[in-house]
Subunit: 263 residues, 2 copies
């Protein structure tokens, strides 16, 4: 069984001098489910219990009803593939295959592969930000997240320069919240270059890729990143901040863009 | 513009006598994006800034690069449709259409429509649970969520009877965590009838539907439900608990399955 977590070297910023420490991040593993020789779906998941995940997914999608219908289940952990042979003809795999519908919290999008990064060039911005500026931005960000406070079920995202929030949005989906900001910037001609994106949600590879595609050099979250999020940030030249708590934060990639100057 | 939240009547359980109160939940709205007369995707989102969301989604997916390429954007808030006409021929809509890939936190699945509920019969279970039993189960659930505590980026799910956790799983995706439990039950012949599912994540319509399809009468979360989650729970006969904090909790649907008996 593969480990669900991975050790990464990070840069920890606090009132003590910044220092490099070992931290643990959750792994994000692409698993492809093949049903009766047909590629059905690729899920991004934690790499444990892959057989349970594949079978549970098929049950949830109505493609598997009785245990007796399972003819064979082959798990290839190295390649990230589970092959299932089933005699259940009831479910409509075509229907599942065709659907591409968002969830409240995420949606179908790309995992980290060569194809995904094609056309995304490494971010060149020289912009820097102070950890105290990040703290002030997050304070304002929290303040604006009123909907979140009233219902508890909504994610927020914001586009900022080092001093101000330029665009802010909320949505039941963390991907949607980020896309609403980008849509606004696109329609209103607001530049995203040299900017910082704040998000209330976790940093998965998909969110990282979304931000890198807009050439945004800094991404910050109150929450944790995944290992693929960290890897992509390093490869794409994005400065990735997680667990922001006031002026304390973890820097997972490209820490040179965050400095310690007090306001 | 449509409201992002909706008022619902809930049942609040605490050390005071249980009482009916008004609460606010986030709305979950299906938005279909049609690009050049082709239905591309249906997102579940908060129903504000639909134009920004549609355009931002197209940008993120590489289907829109220049503002000048947009010929027309028509937003139909009533039907939940945004039609975009674009002269951008660069992006590969076929590729986007074909992908059905999970995110770290959710994945493509169904929103609430007649088609989704076909074949799911209303849950008949007479099982009940005490709010103190729910509190004890959540205490054990939190204890087991060690991976969550170490990385902060993982969701947990569990299948329980009124006394014990029967199956437990963790995953970077809240949907995956639930499917891993169902897969285990399916493969090992563990009955899900009369059981309770615990989740660390928010209750969207998709999670509710997944649980209802397995005929599970009780679903409980530390977090909030959406309006569609509440509606589905009421329609399908699922008892829905949210914001569980010790023996205090909100009951959003079918409160008769939760009683006040001390252990």
């Amino acid at each position: 069984m593969q480990a669900d977590v991975e050790n990464v070297k990070i840069w920890r910023l606090s009132d003590e001098p910044g220092r490099s420490v070992e931290d643990i991040v959750a792994r994000e593993f692409p698993l492809t489910i093949i049903l009766n020789d047909r590629e059905l779906v690729t899920l991004l998941c934690s790499p444990a219990d892959l057989k349970n995940l594949a079978i549970g997914f098929l049950c949830s999608e109505g493609l598997l009803t009785n245990k007796e219908d399972i003819k064979k289940v082959l798990v290839d952990e190295t390649r990230g593939v589970v092959r299932v042979e089933s005699s259940d003809g009831k479910g409509d795999a075509d229907e599942v295959f065709k659907r591409f519908i968002s969830s409240g919290c995420g949606r179908g999008a790309s995992f980290y592969s060569a194809a995904d990064v094609t056309g995304v060039s490494k971010i060149q911005s020289d912009v820097t930000v102070s950890r105290f500026e990040v703290a002030a931005l997050f304070k304002e960000f929290q303040h604006r997240s009123e909907l979140y406070h009233s219902t508890g079920g909504v994610h927020s995202a914001a586009l900022c320069d080092s001093k101000n929030i330029i665009a802010f949005s909320e949505d039941v989906g963390r991907h949607n919240a980020v896309d609403k900001i980008f849509g606004k910037c696109f329609l209103e001609g607001i530049s995203t270059a040299d900017r910082l994106v704040l998000t209330s949600g976790r940093i998965s590879s998909e969110i990282l890729l979304k931000v890198a595609r807009r050439s945004i050099p800094l991404l910050a979250s109150k929450s944790a990143p995944t290992d693929l999020g960290v890897k992509l940030a390093r490869d794409m030249g994005v400065t990735l901040l997680g667990f922001v708590r006031g002026a304390r934060m973890n820097v997972y990639a490209n820490e040179w863009r965050v400095h310690d100057t007090r306001p």
